[in-house]
Symmetry: C2
Amino acid sequence: MSENHYAEFSECGMKPQDVLAYVSGPVPVPAEGEVLVRMMVAPINPADINFIQGVYGVKPVLPHSRAGLEGCGMVEESRADGFRKGDQVILLRGVGSWSELVAVPAVNLMKLPVAVDPVQAAMLKVNPLTALRMLEGFVSLKPGDWIVQNAANSGVGRCIIQLARQMGVRTVNFVRRPDELREELTALGADLVVGENDEDVVKSTLALLDGKRPVLASNAVGGESALRLMDMLAPGGSMVTYGAMSRKSIKVPNGFLIFKGIRLEGLWVTQWLKHAPAQDIAAAYDKLARLMAEGSLVQAVDTVFPLSEVRRAVEKAQEEFRNGKIVLKMNEA
Amino acid sequence: MSENHYAEFSECGMKPQDVLAYVSGPVPVPAEGEVLVRMMVAPINPADINFIQGVYGVKPVLPHSRAGLEGCGMVEESRADGFRKGDQVILLRGVGSWSELVAVPAVNLMKLPVAVDPVQAAMLKVNPLTALRMLEGFVSLKPGDWIVQNAANSGVGRCIIQLARQMGVRTVNFVRRPDELREELTALGADLVVGENDEDVVKSTLALLDGKRPVLASNAVGGESALRLMDMLAPGGSMVTYGAMSRKSIKVPNGFLIFKGIRLEGLWVTQWLKHAPAQDIAAAYDKLARLMAEGSLVQAVDTVFPLSEVRRAVEKAQEEFRNGKIVLKMNEA
């Protein structure tokens, strides 16, 4: 390749499609300790949208910020130990995955332990890890335990269903379109799929749990939806928040904390990736990549766009009802 | 004594003074394993008010419920091992402390390890233990750490100030009347006393902490006040809620959980007393009773009423600005 294409923005904007540009530039040259990666696929996550809007926990360095917080590629040229041409890698840290070619410090890359379909591998970093940390990082779950989640049809939600099933943990899954999604989520391993807006949904759902209550609630919505999760939790249970799709604060009745003894925590894998021991990170991705390779952990894809149509792709990624992730394809494998 | 007097209610009421009665009845006879206690002093806590209102975590058994969740007395007659006439005891569990005489299962009593002023001892069970659990049960505090609390002039708040000082932990104390209370709370050991309603109070207070932030927030208010505490907390810090004086839910911005990584928990010592190992409970009260006996842990008293004036006392206990606890005196020592 004699030139490189990538997505860039020079100012933040609440409509990322209005500030993003598809630009061309020189092929990057890896420095000592860096690896040149030919990117294959990258997803468009809510975090990517929020990053371009300037409302994410990580802020862009302007006036020339690349976009894209995760993705999968092949090593084109390595100037670092442990990597060689043809290795399949994912970006662990840093931005710029919406590029044909990127030069990346080796520490920001992870080589996959097994060959994984590039579209699936592109989505390995954030959602599956979020789901794994949700299930392993807060409450000690035993087979037969119940957990409850909202946004169950999201990327993370679907991973939680699949990983919980592997652990023998049962899931109550709140979605906005239960009738449309029940069959699909049940096929992934969901035990109960219930409607966010059904009347008396907390009471009617609890009646189905054999007298048990969920010990963990996974919250990606906030607002009223989070209140329902807290209401369903067992005394002493935890609600862990990793997203805020409703953009509404969580209103916590004081009695839930004082008398019911529930606990509220947050989960942000970017933070975990910064502070966790390297061997814990490697072990988590090793497990997830193997599950992906054997087809036990599958993420849904709605539409694949070429990188040149990044603005249209970003617009589509913000539409309310999709049947999976919007992904960008940079190069063929 | 040939008869017994006590406070009783036959229905819950939002104005406890309207449903409470000062009644007389026979002297109780202790059963095998029980102890007859001549009550000396009992405080009127928010929990007592809420219990009579029917909005507390423990519900009264009607139509004849005694009132009073804590208090101190002397053993009059023992039919249980480990207690004998003249022992100074506090009620650990159960209701009915607003009585001249009560027959109590031995397991619900604790003998004090040292002689403690009866008025102070009467308030040992709830507030000092809440303060101790707040400081020992959630965050590992080191000398030099900062914590922040609202309702700093409350019974628990004053205990937190005194116990934190013993640990070398520094306190930011929110009150509604800072100018009036600064001298008194500073004398107890408060490092900073600031006004709940002062403009820009979070920013101006943080500027005084040498670049540090509180790692623990003690919340007894809820609403806006809790929001200020969360705002002040260090990343990864905990807000522990033990009261809800404002009667307003806690609104938690999602980013505080996800990006700042703060944690919300609840503290209810009644629950702790139910589940903690007996030796932990004994160790906690031993420590607190000794601090009380040596004068290092003092609770403020506003007014002492005789039990016969229980309705007037309860009314006074609900007034907004007091300078300490309202207590009932049943018998002289």
